[in-house]
């Protein structure tokens, strides 16, 4: 099992997301994250899909995606340089004064932003790679009692050089 990234250009149409998600579900493929939004051409959407699979299954996944009439292009980003970021929102509640201070310290060290603060709670915004966000989730989970996480899933694009 290896982590893979696919960028998918699809028709911006009703049911296309269901088609792609259904393909993964129906064929028992492992889907870690999926983000979607329209592109510079409003009739086309671009999906970024993160998944884990072995080599054979991954080849099959790409072929199955290509087979869909609604899929315009499948790009395998896994082995090429690409830039990706995921938004992670964290709400820390029921914090003591020390914990609030710890929250601010973590934010300044790990390059995240405190976007809201009141009483015993903090709201943090982390825009990092998926792997770094995983670390952040782990760290906060270990240090705080009440952690609420919202993850956006990665968006990715291939690099210029």
């Amino acid at each position: 099992m290896k982590k893979r990234w696919i960028a998918l250009y699809v028709e911006n149409d009703i049911g296309v997301l269901a088609k792609i998600a259904g393909l993964f579900a129906g064929k028992n493929y492992n889907l870690d994250s999926l983000t979607v939004g329209t592109t510079e051409d409003p009739s086309i959407s671009r999906m970024t899909i993160g998944l884990s699979s072995d080599d054979n299954t991954f080849e099959q996944i790409k072929k199955q995606l290509n087979r869909c009439i609604e899929v315009i292009k499948v790009i395998d980003l896994t082995n090429r340089p690409f830039y990706s970021k995921e938004i992670l929102l964290v709400k820390l509640s029921n914090c003591s004064r020390e914990e609030i201070e710890e929250g601010f310290r973590i934010a300044s060290v790990f390059g995240t932003t405190i976007v809201d603060y009141g009483g015993d709670a903090l709201l943090m915004e982390c825009v990092q790679t998926e792997a770094k966000n995983n670390d952040m989730v782990k760290l906060l989970g270990d240090k705080f009692r009440s952690v609420k996480i919202v993850r956006g899933g990665s968006a990715a694009i291939d690099r210029i050089n």
Partner: protein
């Protein structure tokens, strides 16, 4: 500029060359039916159930090469298509299924007879689309037919909300199709073919394996030339049977769970396997890691996703079967395969039946007589033992066609598909070979066949059981015949193996059934009655004939490879 949706639909169908439509009316397609009533070019066929309807369109499509067209109402009309759509999808049959839908203003309201048929069928069709804008109607229909018949063919669903069909709008029907996400393969990579040829040239025991893709591509003639030119032996899948005449000296039958002894052993021993148009379904491979272990594998398929999925191949060739074989003909030379053929012939001899059952009514006798009596016919099977017997004993020549539900294995397919085949080929003798179980799954179509005055022959192999499951129960489940006896009554004793008791009569009485539908019925209980029954049936020109063959419950299909075992590991009987 101003044309009603219903009227554009009918005009579009005519432009697509549709002459037959399989339809069942309802409130959300009544306007389309009204439009059909007012024209003469398209014949409307009314089956008695939508599941049969889609199988009929399927049989029509497989036997004519044209796109089969269905028209049903929303809700239950649409959901009844599901099994038939999946059947067509598995066997790559081009269908366009129009489903009625509630008006767009009601979609999502759980309105009367509303279902999300596009959502329901998303994973079992080639493409599904709901028309949401009247001005897209022409383009969508054009694309539906194009997608259904090109590339790897398959079923397409077009959902038609009632208000869209009543709205007036754009009256144009596009000449061309341009779908940016769909570019079917139209070429073959010459380098890959050259590699395949050099691999073949180094082989001592080369073998062709042909699947349904050969028939779909119309590559039978090219294949025959290739076999004749190279002298290489050939085996087939169920869907590939008939793509080469069965009498050809290089043909050794089907491989797979119920493949021929020689074919399975040849596959096990070959050193280069050249396969065309098969997806290496588990029923033909047996245990995957013991499949053709000595062979390098070349695989031609139009669907890249079928290549190296189940069986990892050495040389993948993405192409239409006909194109690939025709190009191959330019590259190959004759091979010396005498020793290899001799070796396979030895397998063949060692598997000859030893039994002496000359007097009994056996599946082999029945199919043997069908072979003798009909040289030019379309044979349609249902699913089960009779299907495997047909695969084993039916002789095929270039005039004959064989239709069967190979991928999905849909019981209830055979009889309606035969009706569709007869409608598409009125001058051909159409013979449906069915089991007593499968026939009953769409038995109501006796009304359709009789009403349409279709002279066709329905051979029911009646062994009083759901025979294929019974065979597994007998061989692998300690003869515990759970839910397979078709004579069972609630009053039967628990110990039904008590041979002193007579079993209750079979339900229904097929002869009376035939009579009640205004059809003919003949019961055959002995070998010497087969031929006269077939001849009598062939003389009936105005209505279908049921021939019920009473065969023993203990008849089994051999050889058999147990599910998950190696192909070389056959139970001979």
């Amino acid at each position: 500029m101003n044309q009603k949706g219903t009227s554009l639909l009918i005009e579009a169908l005519k432009k697509e060359g549709v002459d037959t439509i399989f339809g069942y009316p309802g409130s959300y397609v009544i306007d389309i039916f009204d439009e059909l009533y007012q024209q003469k070019d398209i014949e409307l066929i009314l089956p008695r159930h939508e599941q049969a309807l889609v199988h009929e369109a399927d049989g029509y499509a497989r036997s004519t090469g044209k796109v089969g067209v269905c028209l049903v109402t929303s809700g239950p009309g649409a959901t009844n298509l599901v099994t038939g759509i999946a059947t067509a999808n598995y066997d790559s049959v081009p269908l366009v299924c129009f489903t009625g839908q509630v008006p767009t203003s009601l979609i999502g309201n759980d309105a009367f007879q509303e279902v999300d048929i596009i959502g329901i069928t998303r994973s079992i069709c080639k493409y599904g689309v709901s028309v949401r804008n009247r001005n897209d109607l022409g383009r969508i229909i054009k694309e539906a037919f194009y997608i259904a018949r090109t590339g790897k063919p398959g079923p397409v669903i077009v959902d038609l909300p009632k208000d869209i069909m009543l709205e007036t709008g754009d009256d144009s029907y596009p000449e061309e199709v341009n779908i940016r996400g769909y570019r079917p393969v139209m070429t073959v990579h010459p380098k890959q073919l050259e590699k395949a040829v050099s691999l073949l040239e180094g082989a001592k025991k080369p073998l062709f394996l042909v699947g349904g893709g050969v028939t779909i591509a119309g590559a039978q003639e090219a294949l025959l030339k290739l076999i004749n030119l190279t002298g290489i032996p050939v085996v087939s899948t169920i869907m590939g049977k008939g793509s080469i005449p069965t009498a050809h000296p290089n043909y050794y039958g089907n491989i797979g769970m119920h493949g021929s002894y020689a074919a399975n052993l040849a596959l096990n021993e070959c050193d280069v396997l050249f396969s065309v148009g098969t997806r290496f379904n588990d029923r033909i491979t047996g245990k995957i890691n013991e499949f053709a272990t000595k062979a390098k594998i070349i695989h031609v398929d139009i669907d890249p996703a079928s290549i190296s999925r189940n069986i990892v191949v050495d040389i993948p060739i993405v192409a239409d079967a006909k194109l690939a074989i025709e190009k191959l003909l330019e590259l190959v030379k004759p091979f010396d395969t005498r020793q290899w053929l001799q070796r396979i012939n030895e397998f063949k001899l060692s598997s000859s039946p030893m039994e002496n059952r000359e007097l009994e009514l056996t599946p082999e006798q029945i199919i043997g007589k069908i072979n003798e009596c009909f040289q030019d016919a379309i044979i349609v099977t249902d699913v089960g033992q009779h299907q495997m017997w047909t695969m084993k004993y039916l002789e095929m020549n270039p005039h004959k066609k064989l239709l069967t539900s190979g991928g999905l294995g849909t019981m209830g397919y055979g009889f309606p598909a035969a009706i569709g085949a007869k409608l598409g080929n009125p001058d051909k003798q159409v013979i449906c070979i069915s089991g007593d179980g499968g026939f009953q799954m769409n038995i109501q179509e006796m009304a359709t066949a009789s009403a349409l005055e279709l002279p066709m022959i329905i051979c029911i192999f009646n062994n009083s059981y759901l025979g294929m499951v019974r065979q597994w129960q007998e061989l692998f489940y300690g003869k515990r015949y759970a839910g397979t006896c078709m004579r069972y009554r609630r009053s039967c004793s628990q110990n039904c193996m008590d041979e002193t008791r007579e079993c209750p009569p079979y339900l229904p009485d097929f002869l009376k059934l035939a009579e009640s539908y205004g059809a003919y019925g003949i019961r055959v209980e002995a070998k010497d009655q087969i031929q006269s029954a077939l001849e009598q049936a062939a003389r009936n020109k105005k209505a279908p004939t049921i021939i019920e063959f009473i065969i023993g419950s203990e008849e089994k299909v051999f050889p058999m490879v147990k599910a998950g075992s190696s192909l070389a590991d056959m139970i001979i009987g």
